[in-house]
């Protein structure tokens, strides 16, 4: 499975586990996926741990992670070694520079796509924008350590989200009572 996933394996995992092998339902997959995304760590690795654990405990988790990493890692190292053989050629350097520019665009787009998911965020569009821009400034322009954004800005954001979720719920309950 891992070898089929260019630029991300999740879509392939979903197709195999849900559609082909039918080891889990789509709903189960979405639930596991959302848990894997919340936690720190690479999402696909987290997902492998969850799925392996679900059926075979910690042994399953280890096997799933090894399975998703081993073959792609060998391919990547082979590529890197092949490339280092030609890395002095201006053409190879140019090609990699071009690919690097595309990768930067790809990562930006992955981030921009996630904006759609912010629509239902309890914090509202204004605060969300401020937080996103704030994280960008801290890391990209001020070049501060990641902990500033994740632990500093992140904990403020979580506290605020906690408060806002409470408000939304209180409003909903008030409405239900009426």
């Amino acid at each position: 499975m891992a070898l089929q996933g260019f630029g991300g394996v999740v879509a392939i995992v979903q197709r195999e586990m849900v559609d082909r092998k039918q080891w889990m339902t789509r709903q189960e997959f979405i639930e596991e996926w959302s848990v894997a995304q919340i936690m720190p760590g690479p999402n696909v690795i987290n997902l492998s741990i969850l799925m392996g654990n679900r059926y075979f405990g910690w042994r399953g988790s280890m096997v799933a992670v090894a399975g998703i990493l081993t073959a792609p890692l060998l391919v990547l190292l082979t590529l890197a070694m092949l490339f280092s053989g030609i890395s002095n050629l201006p053409m190879a350097q140019g090609a990699l520079r071009g690919m690097g520019a595309v990768v930067a665009g790809l990562i930006a787009a992955t981030g921009l796509r996630m904006i759609e998911g912010l629509r239902d965020n309890a914090m509202g569009p204004l605060v969300c924008t401020a937080l996103g821009v704030g994280a960008f400034l801290l890391i990209a322009l001020l070049r501060l350590p990641l902990a500033w954004a994740v632990l500093g800005l992140g904990s403020l954001a979580c506290l605020w989200a906690w408060r806002q979720i409470g408000r939304v719920e209180a409003r909903r309950q008030a409405k239900a009572r009426r």
Binding site: G8, V35, L77, L79, A101, L106, A108, L112, R143, I165
Partner: protein, 190 residues
């Protein structure tokens, strides 16, 4: 570039990646700026070009994105000299990146599933979401601003913007874009 990392340097690197692992909300890519800050700016164990080409190679290869972390360690080891060091570097960075978050995930596997409706879990998820967006764009920014020569790098920036728009707005397959970038680069277009 040739380096002579001591045992304490390697363990410092391992420790650094262990902490990064727990900060990697939203995936490994959000920690790329921090790796760049640490490996390229602070410790000078990798050049800017090595960093970006590692990222590009890992994206062009199949498999989970997190493997770029291993490739960075591999390159640090190569700078030290030889494939033995490269393997050590790979084990240190990829292992450091994976072990803490994986243990945490394993220990909280059933808890997270049972409590996904809990207010604290939802607050964490919603609070972090906009920050992850900011971090992703910061990563892209950092990869692009590795090029500083405005004259030569104007087309590179344009390519990044075009690629971002295409990925964002269309369903074009990533490999086509990477191939186009490689061809343009090889022919000296960017």
């Amino acid at each position: 570039m040739s380096l002579a990392l001591t045992a304490s340097d390697w363990s410092a690197m391992f420790l650094h990646f262990l902490t990064l692992s727990l900060l990697s909300v939203g995936g490994a890519v959000t920690t790329a700026p921090e790796m760049h800050r640490y490996l390229v700016s602070e410790r000078v164990w990798l050049t800017d070009a090595q960093f970006s080409s590692g990222m590009a190679l890992a994206q062009a290869a199949p498999g989970p994105n997190v493997l770029f972390v291993g490739l960075l360690g591999w390159n640090v080891g190569l700078n030290q000299g030889g494939y033995g060091w490269a393997l050590l570097g790979l084990t240190i960075t990829l292992g450091g990146m994976l072990i803490p978050s994986s243990l945490l995930m394993y220990m909280t596997a059933s808890w997270g599933h049972r409590n996904r409706e809990l207010r604290a879990v939802r607050a964490f998820k919603q609070g972090m979401a906009p920050i992850v967006v900011g971090l992703m764009v910061a990563t892209a920014w950092l990869l692009s601003s590795a090029h500083t020569d405005a004259q030569r790098d104007g087309p590179l920036w344009a390519l990044t913007v075009v690629a971002a728009l295409l990925v964002w707005r269309t369903r074009i397959h990533l490999l086509w874009l990477l191939a186009a970038g490689a061809v343009l680069g090889a022919l000296g277009g960017v």
